[in-house]
Amino acid sequence: MFADLPILSLTIWLPIIGGMLVFASGNQAANASRWTALTVAILTFVVSLALWAGFDTSTAQMQFVERTSWIALFDIEYYLGVDGISMPLIILTTFISIFVIIAGWEVVQYRPASYMAAFLIMEGVMVGVFSALDAMLFYVFWEAMLIPMFLIIGIWGGPNRVYATIKFFLYTFFGSVFMLVALIYMYFQAGSFDILAFHDLKLGLTEQILIFVAFLLAFAVKVPMWPVHTWLPDAHVEAPTGGSVILAAIMLKIGGYGFLRFSLPITPDASQQLDWLIITMSLIAVVYIGFVALVQQDMKKLIAYSSIAHMGFVTLGFFIVFMIFAGDSASGGATLGVEGGMVQMVSHGFISAAMFLCVGVLYDRMHSRQIADYGGVANTMPLFAGLMVFFAMANAGLPGTSGFVGEFMVILASFQADFWFAFLAATTLILGAAYTLWMVKRVIFGVVANERVAALKDIGSREFFVLGSLALAVLALGLWPAPLVEVMDASIVNLLKHLAVSKL
């Protein structure tokens, strides 16, 4: 029913053009620009829902395809399309963006219109990353993402924001330029920048390994994987709440998405050869970063490290498949691993967004992120305390919440590969609970720590709406993940079929 409308283009350009209009309207009429931004964000979400409604779950083919020539001389096309892997991430992006706009409603008093505009443009560009099927178009969106985020952290960030934002920019820029060279190389092998043509491209093992490493640099920095994660805690701590939410909920997912769209299908043999590397890095992220999170004094830093640990599950789920292939168990485990990684990405999108928003709520009132400055918040903010405890439980992977589903699937898949992988991965159930709940214990429970905590006011209806909606999403995905799994099933099964065939 939506076949005639260019839904993907609308989802990309509506927020970008809306953002430019909001920016052009200037910072004087702050309220008007807030409402415009919110309208645009909601409209975009509604439009993106058409993707879900019109999605055909029975096929792994690209859907909602739009294809026209962009730069004819170099066969670069404006080529968009979604499958079961990218579609949920697009909806996640448009969904989270609404809350980011609302979360910045009152807090941001300095150039509010520019703030809203930056997030809207960011939203459109991120949707572009998920829907681009031309490698160059993908790269343009991928890099364009850096500019708004650079400004968001740099303008509205904390005291050490300049250091954090330049580190963020250079780190990610460093990662991605090597991917650019790999893409150009493949262009000459395939004769076009069509990503799907890259998938079918025959490549020798040495070529594959080099390309794989180039992709790894780009995606590992974005995910971020240990040991290239060090930009993330800095960026998170200094970013404004909305920036942290977008970073954790969506930008990290783009790295995971890159593995599924590029690394695995384009270089399956190299992925198989080097899967030990990714699995090791993932397990180190899960275990070591889990311990690092335990000792953090700063709430945002703690959640940032917990994000790295959780993203370790995603990459573990993606790359464990080769071990399962090699083993003699049924290939159902492989599907479980990749799907678990995907569910984990979506779930972490909700939970990390909610956690950062919770810290934002506290920070708006106390202007401190130090755990030591809090204590007994439950006494003064009971409603908020309830929600935060819920999200903390979800972060720790409590059954019934979405955090449990993804982790459980990945651990289950790991068992089919190697008991010790599963064992190490499962330590997160203890570590995650330890660092999250210990933080909650120190911040939320106990006696009221000081006068400032005693003076806290509970969340208003706006904040309640934001956190409540996310809580519903977390609960829904935790209790009934079937619709999400169903949507991506065909695409993932197809991807695994593709992976099982050597390109050599």
């Binding site: 890099e143 924001r161 820029f173 330029v177 060279v181 150009i184």
Partner: protein
């Protein structure tokens, strides 16, 4: 040699420009200082009419005229139009700057137009002599322009340095040319190419000739290790002159490299390629690294120019038509970025104050959000971040290099562009994340504002739709 008046039509742009320059020179003598706008207007009209003449007299296929000393082809036409348009922008941006400093004199425009004429001659040269004539006309005009603010010690020093080093480079070039002439017995590129193809690199004199010619080209480009003049000249010369030096001559230098190396010695590609690789890698490396250490924006942009030159050389050394297209696209885009950046420098300067230090850019976003955004676009474009056009310029160059199996060079290129991103980002950081130290309002006339806005937005628009310009550049080498 039979003389046919129809032969004059292809060189009509140069004839027109020369005539008009002389008219401006004479008219200006009879103008009072407050009527100087008339000269300015005449110059602008001249440039745009010259664009029209190029378009009108342009024909599809290449023609060689005057016993092979001049060539009129599509590459030349596109470069000529770009040079004329860019120079028009230069004159527009620099007008208020000159007026504020009592430098608003006819000589600036006459010298500027002679420089443009020199560039057009270079672009159309089909023989060593024509090329050298154009080059010297350009160089001599620029030497004088650098010293244009004659009371400025820095300016005189820069001009002296530029002159001495420039003369040395011209000497080298001439020396190389004479050797090639000795080895091949010809000064016209077509004949030289044939002779070179026959003899190859066996001839030692020819080898020396090529080396000296490459040195001459490297000097004009400002490629490392022949870059010494660039930072000092950029630093010492009036910003209005730096606008001119940094933009259009890069396109002329590109044309010079194309004519000498490709038209003249195309069959020696394997030999000069290696030299250009060294020049390109050193330029990208040193340019980007040293730029980080600069506290003066003009010096910083000078080193940034050096690094961009490395990229242009990468395109040329690929030796394919895709490579030449890429290098040409890059040099046009670079000229646009350079006048954009220096345009902002001029905009921020005012009577008695030169916005030369990086500190002066602090908090520009608070002072003028619009022009801060324009400068940001230019900076991101120079850094090569999509969706700005600078990214596509780098992309096509890298593509050309990867295509000829020199992927390692592409890796070197992107590696140094990461380092380069840092100092462009620093400008953005100063403009957006810091508080202003200088609260003076920005004053600029309406046409400058419009032109700067067009200039800045062009980074974005060309970045979203680079196809047209790319196809145009590609058609020159089809």
């Amino acid at each position: 040699m039979q003389f046919d008046t129809s032969n004059l039509i292809p060189v009509l742009p140069e004839i027109f420009l020369l005539t008009m320059t002389s008219v401006v020179l004479v008219t200006d003598l009879f103008l009072k200082q407050e009527q100087r706008m008339i000269s300015y207007g005449m110059v602008q009209v001249t440039l745009w009419l010259a664009v029209g003449v190029v378009l009108l007299t342009g024909q599809g296929e290449a023609r060689v005229l005057f016993d092979g000393s001049v060539i009129r082809d599509r590459m030349g036409d596109i470069l000529k139009i770009s040079i004329l348009v860019i120079t028009s922008g230069v004159f527009l941006y620099s007008r208020d700057y000159l007026r504020d400093r009592d430098l608003f004199k006819g000589e600036y425009y006459v010298l500027g137009l002679f420089a443009v004429l020199g560039m057009l001659v270079m672009v159309s040269a089909n023989g060593f002599l024509t090329l050298y004539l154009g080059l010297e006309l350009l160089a001599l005009s620029l030497y004088a322009l650098v010293a244009f603010d004659r009371d400025s010690i820095g300016g005189s020093e820069a001009a002296m340095k530029y002159f001495v080093l420039g003369a040395l480079a011209s000497g080298m070039l001439l020396y190389g040319i004479s050797m090639i002439y000795g080895a091949t017995g010809a000064i016209e590129f077509g004949t030289v190419a044939k002779a070179v193809a026959a003899s190859g690199m066996d001839d030692l004199v020819l080898v020396f000739g090529v080396v000296f010619v490459v040195i001459g080209i490297a000097f004009k480009f400002g490629a490392v290790p022949f870059h010494m003049w660039a930072p000092d000249v950029y630093h010492g010369a009036p910003t209005a002159v730096v606008l001119l030096i940094s933009s259009a001559p890069k396109m002329a230098a590109f044309a010079m490299a194309m004519r000498l190396l490709v038209d003249g010695m195309g069959s020696l590609h394997g030999d000069w390629q290696g030299m250009l690789v060294i020049l390109a890698v050193l330029s990208m490396g040193l340019g980007n690294l040293v730029a980080i250490a600069q506290a003066n924006i003009k010096r910083m942009l000078a080193y940034s120019t050096i690094s961009h030159v490395g990229f242009i050389l990468l395109g040329i050394l690929a030796g394919t038509s895709a490579g030449y297209t890429a290098a040409m696209f890059y040099s046009i885009v670079y000229a646009l970025m350079a006048i954009g950046a220096f345009g902002i420098v001029v905009l921020l300067s005012r009577r008695g104050f030169e916005a030369e230090n990086l500190e002066d850019y602090k908090g520009l976003h608070d002072r003028s959000p619009w022009f801060a955004a324009m400068m940001m676009l230019v900076m991101f474009s120079m850094a090569g971040v999509p969706p700005t056009v600078g990214f596509f310029a780098k992309l096509v160059v890298l593509q050309a290099v990867v295509d000829v199996d020199m992927t390692w060079l592409a890796l070197v290129g992107v590696f140094f562009s990461i380092i380069g991103a840092f100092y462009y980002l620093r400008i953005v950081k100063l403009m957006y994340f810091d508080k202003p130290v200088d609260e003076a309002p920005l004053s600029a006339s309406l046409d400058t504002r419009v032109a700067l806005s067009v200039n800045g937005l062009a980074m974005l628009v060309l970045g979203m739709f680079p196809g047209g310009l790319l196809t145009l550049c590609g058609s020159a080498f089809a």
